[in-house]
Amino acid sequence: MAKRKSSRPYKDSELNHAMREKLLVTVFMIALALIALAVYLTYINYKDGERYSKYVLDNQQYDSSSLPFKRGDITDRNGTVLAYSSKVYNLILDPKVVLSSEKYKDPTLSALAEYFALSRSDLEGLLASKPDSHYEKLLKGLTQDQISEFNKMLEESEEAIYIRGIWFEEEYVRNYPFDTLACDVVGFASSASVGELGLENYYNEELTGVNGVSYGYVDSDLNLEKTVKPAVDGYNLVTTIDYSVQAVIEEDIRAFNEEFGSDNTAVIVMNPNNGEIIAEASYPVFDLNNPRDMTSIYTVEELNAMDDETMLNSLYTLWNNYCVSSIFEPGSTMKPFTVGAALEEGLVHDGDTYMCDGSEKVLDMTIKCHNIYGHGELTLEQTIMQSCNDALMQIGMKLGADLLAKYQDIFGFGYRTYVDLPGEDAGLTYEASKMDATDVATNSFGQNIEVNMHQLVAGFCSLVNGGYYYQPHLVKRIETSTGEVVKTIRPTLIRQTITEETSALLRKYMQSTVATGTGKRVAVEGYDIGGKTGTAETWALDEDGKNLGYRSITDYVISFIGFAPCDDPQFVIYVVIDNPQVDAVGTAIPVCELSHTIMEDILPLMNVYPDYTDPNATTEEGTTTEATTDATTEATTEATTKATTEETTTAKETETKNNN
């Protein structure tokens, strides 16, 4: 009741007229203030909107980042991958971000310690020493597996928001699945865009792609746009190499060198009908995945003893591709070229005979045949079969300096073959005008002229394929990363060297050489193989590798060049052993045996089938026994004559050479 009474007077009173008026004034003023503020907001947007938007965009992080391209793969002719790039991640720490708040440091460092086994104290030290840095590479080459757990934790953990300043930089690393296989040919890349040797270097431009970029930009309406320009991956190379053939050859080379050893052992297998190089191996090898590791050829003590320069030189020697960058005197493998040239010029004919008396007097010096007692009377075929120097000198004389030099040009000696490998050495030949009789004589059997293996193989291919000189090449196709063909490298026919008739004769001569001549040891039962051996003394060198000006009696380059089958050669093989550490010094026996092993292994792989034209198995057996006996006799002969083998050089010759 009391309440009611007391409240009564208030209930009766209401807003009076003045109050209503002032209330209206107040509301009007409030409305005015709100409208004024709305207008002012509009004004700010109108006047400073654009400027302020830019300030705000400055706050936004739209830094661009580079997206790495993938270097192209290198495969063999059947798609076996010889080199590929795989994505890896580098762990990057941004100390400035980590230190931007006390909350970040501890969880971040703990996570690094836990997931990447990094020392906490080291990280503390790094943060203390480089607090303003934005980029510290902590770990390199992490795989997806190695970082996946950390990334998973980042997504799932509650604590993850305090883990700051860690990111992964993507990168590609080069892998060579077969380590040492075709190391000199494939080469290695030291970074995604730098190929160092071999095909990696020669086709660097094709293998290298274009980095992509991811960046933010501000469009005309001042909206932030994020754009990704994807990386363009490098092209893939499909080589002419056959992995199986290459692997078998390398295995044989390795076995030979483990048993005997040599300074260099190199093999090239080429298809004479198109110039494709099917295998190209040289020993010693190195691991492409670890090209600076020389522990395979030097002991730890030796390596420790090396100074930087020696180390570098040793590496260069190791990386040297004997097949293109080394030149040497080919020796008797040159003889078919001389005979071919003479046949082509009509200066000699099949069936002509030559008299070998063990030496030939040229100008005022005597150049001996390897059989110092003389071969006696030889037919043209037999001069090749017996590898007679005396007869070849006579044929060379018939050709004369001009024609000899002309045919050296025709066969490509003294010119780079332009095989698709870097560092090709053009070799050393004489100009016709500077060639004297001694030079003609020695050149005719492959001395006093230096060639690289590709020159000899390419030229030889034309000798046995009917005279067609194809440019040797190692890459048959260039493809995009998705497999579209960019370029197909077709066989390049450079010139006709000799006629089909001459070629057929030479094939026949060399077939006999392997059947019953000096190349007998190469013969593989049931197969029809032709070829020619070569033995050449090398120049004696002093410790620094300087030419001493006389022939070494212990160092030889021995070689065998062959083909199969004889009537339609499917491949040419050239085997070169530089300074073999064998007892039979100065003979071609070791190279014949190695060639035999390789032939035996690769003939089935090259789709060359045994010749069953003679089905009489017993006769075959008998022939084999006979052949073995022959080989032994031959070996003995060669052994006895080894001291004088191709002892053809004189001081005069050295002078001539040096004058060049």
Binding site: L41, V56, L57
Partner: protein
């Protein structure tokens, strides 16, 4: 007692009239506020608490408590506040004293503003606002026709100043002190028929402020000993010169407003909230509204506040009695002044005072007290119908 209850229940059965427009406006503002608060605070919340909804969860809880208290308060006849008016005023003063001088005072972010025990804490300054509204309304009713004499208005202004300055000094809270003084002045202004003295007073204060600001900006230099309120005034006139220090927040807020454009960057797309405007969920939240929703969104929000004020004006002018009218006026003044101050600060029209945006900014006590005030407003509105019905009955 039994009699009382019976009478009350009788009233309750009369269909309650609520100002549903006001209610809808409030609910809309709350929902809008929560969405914007979540958008604004998620980043900082994640950084500070590892949980992007930390601020949102708490604000949601406060909003629920506030809504409950609003509905509860709306049930109480506002006339009961007549009995508590004096007590509320005195208690508010005592609470302010407790903040300053008792161990219950809690210091957060360098300001001793809260009273608390354990997990519970609240700002007496927020309570003081509603206490003042009720007290001034009570005074107006009590003075009756005497209110026309300026002496009585002066007394009301004095009470206002005492509480306002107490809140400012004792709880270290300039924004609430200013708000209280502004609310008290508006209520006094409306209750008094006088214009002259108010005009003179306003003129003098304005002149003083202009001179003070002029001197401060001309001769004032910011040193280590300069009080932060002086700094704020100096920075207000020239934020660019202090863009890396005191002017940083203001400028970043302006950049946010300016970069919004007509329709903004879209909800959730603010760049500035990501650490560039510190504690954007507090008094700078309006700048994020501008950035994300653009001019359109900002003006819609202003319009919504205008609508709220309009409804409170209608309640004030139609209230059944003077007490109800004065309370509604006080509530209206509270909302209006807070909105205007906040937006003025964000746009750098006024120096930084720390006034929050009603229903939108983060803050527990603020939203609960505001909603309780709205409850009172709703209750007053419910009496309008009753009064009309009575009139109808009389007819």
């Amino acid at each position: 007692m039994a009699k009382n209850r019976k009478r009350k229940s009788k009233i309750r059965f009369i269909p309650q009239y609520y100002d549903y427009s006001l209610l809808v406006a409030i609910l809309f503002l709350l929902a809008f506020g929560l969405v914007i608060l979540y958008s604004t605070s998620a980043y900082e919340s994640r950084i500070n608490f590892g949980d992007s909804s930390f601020y949102f969860d708490r604000q949601f809880l406060y909003t629920c408590i506030g809504l409950a208290s609003m509905l509860l308060v709306a049930r109480f006849d506002y006339h009961i506040y007549l009995r508590f008016a004096k007590v509320a005023y005195v208690v508010s003063l005592i609470l302010c004293l407790l903040v300053r001088f008792s161990p219950l005072g809690v210091t957060l972010n360098g300001s001793r503003r809260w009273l608390g025990y354990g997990n519970f804490s609240f700002q007496p300054a927020e309570l003081a606002k509603i206490a003042l509204i009720i007290f001034i309304a009570f005074l107006v009713v009590q003075y009756g026709s005497l209110v026309k004499q300026f002496e009585y208005t002066f007394v009301m202004l004095c009470y206002t100043l005492v509480l306002g300055l107490a809140v400012y000094w004792l709880t270290d809270n300039l924004s609430s002190g200013l708000l209280i003084i502004a609310i008290g002045m508006i209520m006094s202004f409306i209750s008094s028929p006088n214009y002259k003295w108010f005009a003179i007073g306003a003129g003098v204060v304005l002149l003083f402020i202009i001179v003070y600001v002029f001197f401060l900006t001309t001769f004032g230099e910011i040193t280590d000993t300069t009080s932060f309120r002086k700094i704020r005034i100096i920075v207000w006139r020239d934020p660019i010169s202090y863009s890396d220090s005191y002017g940083y927040q203001t400028l970043q807020g302006l950049y946010a407003i300016g970069s919004g454009g007509l329709f903004g960057k879209g909800l959730g797309n603010s760049i500035q909230k990501n650490g560039y405007i510190p504690e954007a969920q507090n008094d700078m939240i309006f700048s994020i509204v501008c950035e994300e929703l653009g001019l359109f969104g900002a003006i819609c929000l202003i319009f919504l506040f205008g609508f709220l004020i309009w409804r409170l004006y209608l309640i004030a002018s139609n209230a059944p009695d003077l007490f109800g009218s004065m309370i509604a006026i006080g509530i209206m003044a509270h909302v209006a002044v807070q909105v205007i101050f906040n937006i003025a600060v964000v746009t750098n029209v006024l120096p930084n005072t720390g006034v929050t945006l009603p229903f939108i900014s983060y803050g527990g006590t603020s939203v609960i007290i505001l909603l309780a005030e709205m409850g009172i407003g709703l209750n007053i509105s419910s009496k309008i119908r009753k009064k009309k019905e009575e009139t109808e009955e009389a007819l």
